[in-house]
């Protein structure tokens, strides 16, 4: 019990540090890919320290309590998600929440962004908030199909409570449905990798915080400490989202291979989990950010509702066919 409370305090802090570190790695890798030199890896820490020093301006016409509380809610909800996800080891709050809860909790940071955008009294922020809402509606569909496919596959293979994250991360799904299932799962994994930049607000899906179009979008009126909290929430959300993808599709542990025991096993698994999270973020966030341009909001909806939906349904059909064979 005490262990659980201590872990529940340590994991969010670790999430913040790891999230900022990954943000720095992402920036320097993206810069190298673009032929530049790039900032040092600790640059996001400096950014947050600088933002905490700046004045915190609340516009006169803004809804004060919403404006000031939304950054807190965004950061707190993202930290709460980390407590339910398996980070190489069993989740901290193991019996208390399952996959459906995580999916619901994932809506809250985006909703906090939207409300924060509408609470600032700026037309740019309202446009950013509307775009974020439309984007949320678009990417929830492929995300839901991906999650349901994995849960269905585990259910038809006779696992226990299929929505519990410990069960999901205990049973790798790749071999459960034969060759067609393998192809289907690969398609669905691809679609999930495509959802991740939409959820995190990276290019090509950063329409809501578009710099050149709507002058900062949702964050147009935020400054100082509020902006620092949103920045941290964005960093932690990347870790949470990638951990979810890893828990669904790549739940392998490394301590069994090396035969580690005692205290070394959780540490090795945790580090291996960080490596997997880095790979997922590298492919879906960094590389995609460098090679594509920003999509317009109408195209965001059509891109999410056409190709990922068709591909993931095809994947689901392949999985179903694989289990019948």
């Amino acid at each position: 019990m005490i262990m659980r409370v201590l872990l529940a305090m340590a994991v969010p802090v670790a999430g913040i540090l790891i999230g900022l570190l990954y943000k720095g790695i992402d920036r320097i890798l993206a810069a190298r890919m673009q032929g530049r030199v790039g900032p040092p890896v600790v640059q996001p820490f400096r950014d947050v320290r600088k933002l905490l020093v700046k004045e915190n301006i609340v516009p006169d016409d803004a809804v004060g309590w919403l404006f000031g509380s939304m950054p807190f809610i965004a950061l707190v909800s993202v930290m709460a998600i980390l407590l339910y996800l398996p980070l190489g080891v069993a989740p901290v709050l193991e019996g208390y929440g399952d996959l459906i809860l995580v999916l619901y909790l994932l809506i809250i940071p985006s909703l906090a962004l939207v409300l924060g955008g509408f609470a600032s009294s700026s037309p740019y922020a309202s446009v950013g908030g509307q775009r974020e809402m439309v984007k949320m509606m678009s990417y929830e569909f492929p995300l839901a199909i991906a999650v349901i496919s994995v849960a269905w596959l585990l259910y038809s293979s006779g696992a226990g409570n299929v929505f519990s994250l410990s069960v999901i991360s205990g049973t790798p799904v790749w071999g459960l449905a034969g060759i067609p299932g393998l192809a289907g799962l690969a398609l669905i994994f691809l679609c999930l990798l495509f959802v991740i930049p939409g959820e995190l607000g990276r290019v090509p899906f950063d329409v809501s915080e578009a710099d050149s179009e709507i002058a900062g979008g949702i964050f147009a009126e935020y400054s100082g400490r509020n902006l620092a909290l949103f920045y941290l929430a964005d960093a932690v959300k990347a870790v949470a989202m990638a951990s979810l993808a890893v828990a669904l599709f790549l739940p392998y542990t490394v301590s069994g291979i090396f035969g580690l025991g005692g205290a070394a096993a959780p540490a090795a698994d945790f580090l291996f989990h960080l490596l997997k999270v880095f790979l997922v973020l590298f492919v879906s966030s960094t590389v995609m950010r460098v090679v594509t341009g920003r999509l317009a909001i109408s195209r965001v909806v059509s891109v999410y509702w056409k190709y990922p939906v068709i591909l993931s349904f095809l994947g689901l059909l392949l999985i179903m066919g694989g289990t019948l064979v």
Partner: protein, 143 residues
């Protein structure tokens, strides 16, 4: 002058400066390579931002007319302090090429408190970096 106040805050600020550009026409042409790949400004932690609320540094590049200097004053008021203002080019120092025009301003510090002027028409990217390094050294040197 902004530079002399809040030395401790400024020390944190110079490690990660977020820049907002306000320009009319020709002053910005030499800031583009500074942002781009060749003279990369992100290796010092500087990124261009789109909203003055996020900015630490307001770069006023080139001439300002009577109409646009009022907007520039409004933008300066919107920036959260501590902030740094840089006047880029000879047009902000003395009017530059437009010294006898009826509609441009002749000295930027009559309207906004300026911390650094960078001469040139427009200044080369190396000159812009030299100017920014002066600010960094001054902040580091004081306390």
């Amino acid at each position: 002058m902004m530079i002399m106040e809040d030395a401790k805050k400024l020390k944190r600020l110079v490690k990660s400066v977020w820049v907002f550009n306000w320009f009319n026409s020709c002053g910005f042409t030499e800031i583009l390579p500074v942002v781009g790949s060749r003279w990369d400004m992100e290796r010092f932690g500087m990124i261009p931002v789109a909203s003055p609320r996020h900015a630490d540094c307001l770069i006023i590049a080139g001439y300002q007319t009577e109409k646009s200097i009022r907007r520039a004053q409004r933008i300066y008021r919107q920036m959260p302090k501590p902030a740094v203002v840089i006047g880029l080019g000879s047009c902000s120092m003395s009017g530059g090429m437009y010294w006898d025009s009826y509609n441009t301003i002749k000295r930027l510090s009559d309207y906004i408190p300026v911390d650094l002027y960078i001469p040139g028409c427009p200044p080369r990217p190396e000159a812009i970096f030299g100017g920014i390094m002066k600010i960094v050294q001054k902040v580091k040197g004081n306390g």
